[in-house]
Subunit: 124 residues, 2 copies
Protein backbone atom coordinates (compact mmCIF):
# COMPACT_ATOMS: atom_id res chain seq x y z
CA UNK A 1 0.00 0.00 0.00
CA UNK A 2 1.32 3.39 -1.05
CA UNK A 3 0.89 6.75 0.66
CA UNK A 4 1.62 10.32 -0.35
CA UNK A 5 2.36 12.93 2.32
CA UNK A 6 2.41 16.56 1.22
CA UNK A 7 4.64 18.46 3.65
CA UNK A 8 4.20 22.21 4.04
CA UNK A 9 6.02 24.66 6.28
CA UNK A 10 2.99 25.56 8.40
CA UNK A 11 1.89 29.08 9.28
CA UNK A 12 0.58 31.06 12.24
CA UNK A 13 -2.19 32.03 9.83
CA UNK A 14 -4.84 29.30 10.05
CA UNK A 15 -6.15 30.06 6.55
CA UNK A 16 -2.73 29.24 5.04
CA UNK A 17 -2.73 25.82 6.70
CA UNK A 18 -6.30 25.29 5.53
CA UNK A 19 -5.19 26.08 1.98
CA UNK A 20 -2.73 23.18 2.24
CA UNK A 21 -5.49 20.90 3.56
CA UNK A 22 -7.78 21.92 0.69
CA UNK A 23 -5.00 21.26 -1.82
CA UNK A 24 -4.47 17.83 -0.24
CA UNK A 25 -8.19 17.04 -0.66
CA UNK A 26 -7.94 18.07 -4.32
CA UNK A 27 -4.81 15.92 -4.71
CA UNK A 28 -6.56 12.89 -3.21
CA UNK A 29 -9.42 13.27 -5.71
CA UNK A 30 -7.11 13.35 -8.75
CA UNK A 31 -6.22 10.22 -10.64
CA UNK A 32 -3.28 8.56 -8.88
CA UNK A 33 -2.16 5.26 -7.39
CA UNK A 34 -1.91 6.18 -3.70
CA UNK A 35 -4.19 4.51 -1.17
CA UNK A 36 -3.64 7.25 1.37
CA UNK A 37 -3.04 10.98 0.65
CA UNK A 38 -2.49 13.35 3.55
CA UNK A 39 -0.60 16.49 4.57
CA UNK A 40 1.72 17.35 7.44
CA UNK A 41 3.48 20.47 8.68
CA UNK A 42 7.10 21.13 9.60
CA UNK A 43 5.98 23.57 12.29
CA UNK A 44 3.14 25.76 13.58
CA UNK A 45 0.35 23.35 12.65
CA UNK A 46 -0.75 19.74 13.00
CA UNK A 47 -0.11 16.96 12.20
CA UNK A 48 3.67 17.11 12.52
CA UNK A 49 5.70 15.21 9.92
CA UNK A 50 6.31 12.24 12.27
CA UNK A 51 2.62 12.05 13.16
CA UNK A 52 1.59 12.32 9.52
CA UNK A 53 3.94 9.44 8.68
CA UNK A 54 2.70 7.37 11.63
CA UNK A 55 -0.93 7.83 10.49
CA UNK A 56 -0.02 6.59 7.03
CA UNK A 57 1.74 3.55 8.54
CA UNK A 58 -1.26 2.86 10.82
CA UNK A 59 -3.46 3.00 7.72
CA UNK A 60 -1.28 0.22 6.25
CA UNK A 61 1.27 2.08 4.12
CA UNK A 62 4.35 0.06 3.18
CA UNK A 63 5.73 2.78 0.91
CA UNK A 64 5.44 6.52 1.60
CA UNK A 65 6.44 9.39 -0.68
CA UNK A 66 7.04 12.67 1.15
CA UNK A 67 6.44 15.63 -1.15
CA UNK A 68 7.85 18.95 0.11
CA UNK A 69 5.46 21.81 -0.70
CA UNK A 70 8.29 24.35 -0.73
CA UNK A 71 9.54 26.76 -3.38
CA UNK A 72 13.24 26.74 -2.56
CA UNK A 73 15.86 24.28 -1.45
CA UNK A 74 16.63 25.95 1.86
CA UNK A 75 17.46 24.43 5.23
CA UNK A 76 13.87 23.19 5.69
CA UNK A 77 14.06 21.05 2.57
CA UNK A 78 17.73 20.05 2.87
CA UNK A 79 17.87 19.29 6.59
CA UNK A 80 14.71 19.71 8.67
CA UNK A 81 12.36 17.50 6.64
CA UNK A 82 14.92 14.66 6.31
CA UNK A 83 15.53 14.82 10.08
CA UNK A 84 11.82 14.51 10.86
CA UNK A 85 11.45 11.67 8.37
CA UNK A 86 14.44 9.84 9.88
CA UNK A 87 12.69 9.68 13.27
CA UNK A 88 9.85 7.57 11.86
CA UNK A 89 12.10 5.62 9.49
CA UNK A 90 14.05 4.35 12.49
CA UNK A 91 10.81 3.46 14.33
CA UNK A 92 9.48 1.57 11.30
CA UNK A 93 12.44 0.25 9.28
CA UNK A 94 10.15 -2.13 7.33
CA UNK A 95 8.39 0.83 5.68
CA UNK A 96 10.01 2.49 2.67
CA UNK A 97 9.88 6.26 3.16
CA UNK A 98 11.43 8.52 0.53
CA UNK A 99 11.46 12.25 -0.10
CA UNK A 100 10.58 13.52 -3.58
CA UNK A 101 12.09 16.76 -4.94
CA UNK A 102 10.41 19.93 -3.62
CA UNK A 103 7.78 21.78 -5.64
CA UNK A 104 10.18 24.57 -6.73
CA UNK A 105 12.24 21.93 -8.52
CA UNK A 106 9.33 20.83 -10.73
CA UNK A 107 9.76 21.06 -14.50
CA UNK A 108 6.06 21.87 -14.84
CA UNK A 109 6.29 25.12 -12.86
CA UNK A 110 6.98 27.38 -15.83
CA UNK A 111 3.96 25.97 -17.64
CA UNK A 112 1.51 26.62 -14.82
CA UNK A 113 2.98 30.08 -14.13
CA UNK A 114 2.47 31.08 -17.76
CA UNK A 115 -1.05 29.59 -17.69
CA UNK A 116 -1.79 31.59 -14.54
CA UNK A 117 -0.65 34.84 -16.22
CA UNK A 118 -2.51 34.11 -19.47
CA UNK A 119 -5.80 33.14 -17.77
CA UNK A 120 -5.61 36.32 -15.72
CA UNK A 121 -4.87 38.37 -18.82
CA UNK A 122 -7.87 36.91 -20.63
CA UNK A 123 -10.15 37.73 -17.70
CA UNK A 124 -9.12 41.39 -17.41
CA UNK B 1 4.31 45.81 -25.45
CA UNK B 2 3.64 43.32 -22.68
CA UNK B 3 5.78 42.40 -19.71
CA UNK B 4 5.63 39.65 -17.09
CA UNK B 5 7.11 40.25 -13.64
CA UNK B 6 7.49 37.21 -11.39
CA UNK B 7 7.45 38.46 -7.80
CA UNK B 8 9.02 36.33 -5.07
CA UNK B 9 9.39 36.98 -1.36
CA UNK B 10 13.19 37.17 -1.38
CA UNK B 11 15.50 35.38 1.03
CA UNK B 12 18.65 35.99 3.09
CA UNK B 13 19.87 32.83 1.35
CA UNK B 14 21.40 33.95 -1.95
CA UNK B 15 20.83 30.54 -3.56
CA UNK B 16 17.06 30.87 -3.03
CA UNK B 17 17.01 34.20 -4.87
CA UNK B 18 19.16 32.68 -7.60
CA UNK B 19 16.61 29.86 -7.96
CA UNK B 20 13.96 32.52 -8.71
CA UNK B 21 16.29 34.13 -11.29
CA UNK B 22 16.91 30.75 -12.93
CA UNK B 23 13.18 30.06 -13.04
CA UNK B 24 12.65 33.49 -14.63
CA UNK B 25 15.23 32.65 -17.33
CA UNK B 26 13.40 29.37 -18.00
CA UNK B 27 10.08 31.26 -18.12
CA UNK B 28 11.47 33.74 -20.64
CA UNK B 29 12.59 30.89 -22.91
CA UNK B 30 9.16 29.20 -22.94
CA UNK B 31 6.61 29.97 -25.62
CA UNK B 32 4.67 33.09 -24.57
CA UNK B 33 3.65 36.51 -25.80
CA UNK B 34 5.62 38.75 -23.43
CA UNK B 35 8.34 41.03 -24.78
CA UNK B 36 9.95 41.38 -21.37
CA UNK B 37 10.10 38.73 -18.60
CA UNK B 38 11.80 39.58 -15.34
CA UNK B 39 11.66 38.93 -11.60
CA UNK B 40 11.50 41.16 -8.54
CA UNK B 41 11.55 40.63 -4.78
CA UNK B 42 9.28 41.90 -2.02
CA UNK B 43 12.25 42.11 0.35
CA UNK B 44 15.81 40.93 1.05
CA UNK B 45 16.93 40.96 -2.59
CA UNK B 46 17.05 43.14 -5.68
CA UNK B 47 15.35 44.42 -7.74
CA UNK B 48 12.49 45.59 -5.55
CA UNK B 49 8.98 45.38 -7.00
CA UNK B 50 8.89 49.12 -7.89
CA UNK B 51 12.31 48.89 -9.57
CA UNK B 52 11.32 45.75 -11.45
CA UNK B 53 8.20 47.51 -12.73
CA UNK B 54 10.19 50.65 -13.64
CA UNK B 55 12.66 48.54 -15.67
CA UNK B 56 9.77 46.98 -17.59
CA UNK B 57 8.33 50.44 -18.28
CA UNK B 58 11.74 51.74 -19.39
CA UNK B 59 11.94 48.76 -21.75
CA UNK B 60 8.68 49.98 -23.30
CA UNK B 61 6.01 47.93 -21.49
CA UNK B 62 2.47 49.30 -21.79
CA UNK B 63 0.91 46.33 -20.01
CA UNK B 64 2.52 44.47 -17.10
CA UNK B 65 1.30 41.29 -15.43
CA UNK B 66 2.65 40.81 -11.91
CA UNK B 67 2.74 37.12 -11.00
CA UNK B 68 3.15 36.39 -7.26
CA UNK B 69 5.43 33.38 -6.73
CA UNK B 70 3.80 32.58 -3.38
CA UNK B 71 2.06 29.46 -2.08
CA UNK B 72 -0.51 31.07 0.19
CA UNK B 73 -2.72 34.12 0.18
CA UNK B 74 -1.17 35.76 3.23
CA UNK B 75 -0.51 39.43 3.96
CA UNK B 76 2.29 39.57 1.38
CA UNK B 77 -0.04 38.60 -1.44
CA UNK B 78 -3.14 40.43 -0.15
CA UNK B 79 -1.52 43.70 0.95
CA UNK B 80 2.22 44.13 0.49
CA UNK B 81 2.49 43.34 -3.23
CA UNK B 82 -0.53 45.53 -4.15
CA UNK B 83 0.98 48.40 -2.11
CA UNK B 84 4.31 48.15 -3.94
CA UNK B 85 2.55 47.95 -7.30
CA UNK B 86 0.42 51.00 -6.45
CA UNK B 87 3.57 53.15 -6.05
CA UNK B 88 4.56 52.63 -9.68
CA UNK B 89 0.98 52.67 -10.97
CA UNK B 90 0.62 56.21 -9.62
CA UNK B 91 3.95 57.26 -11.19
CA UNK B 92 2.96 55.80 -14.56
CA UNK B 93 -0.85 55.92 -14.86
CA UNK B 94 -0.65 55.31 -18.64
CA UNK B 95 0.73 51.78 -18.07
CA UNK B 96 -1.71 48.98 -17.26
CA UNK B 97 -0.34 46.98 -14.33
CA UNK B 98 -2.35 44.07 -12.97
CA UNK B 99 -1.70 41.33 -10.46
CA UNK B 100 -2.46 37.73 -11.43
CA UNK B 101 -3.52 35.13 -8.83
CA UNK B 102 -0.61 33.74 -6.79
CA UNK B 103 0.96 30.38 -7.64
CA UNK B 104 -0.77 28.50 -4.78
CA UNK B 105 -4.09 29.36 -6.43
CA UNK B 106 -3.19 27.60 -9.69
CA UNK B 107 -5.42 24.78 -10.90
CA UNK B 108 -2.40 23.04 -12.36
CA UNK B 109 -0.66 22.57 -8.98
CA UNK B 110 -2.16 19.16 -8.21
CA UNK B 111 -1.03 17.88 -11.60
CA UNK B 112 2.59 18.92 -11.19
CA UNK B 113 2.69 17.70 -7.57
CA UNK B 114 1.50 14.24 -8.63
CA UNK B 115 3.98 14.27 -11.53
CA UNK B 116 6.76 15.16 -9.10
CA UNK B 117 5.85 12.24 -6.81
CA UNK B 118 5.47 9.77 -9.69
CA UNK B 119 8.75 10.74 -11.39
CA UNK B 120 10.52 10.37 -8.07
CA UNK B 121 8.86 7.01 -7.47
CA UNK B 122 9.97 5.74 -10.88
CA UNK B 123 13.55 6.77 -10.20
CA UNK B 124 13.84 5.02 -6.84
Amino acid sequence: MKALLLVAHGSRRVASNDEVRELTKKLSKEKHHYNHVDCAFLELSEPSIPNGLRSAIKAGAKEIIVLPYFLSAGRHVAEDIPEEVAIVQSESPEVSISIAPYLGHSHGLTTILLEQATLHNENT
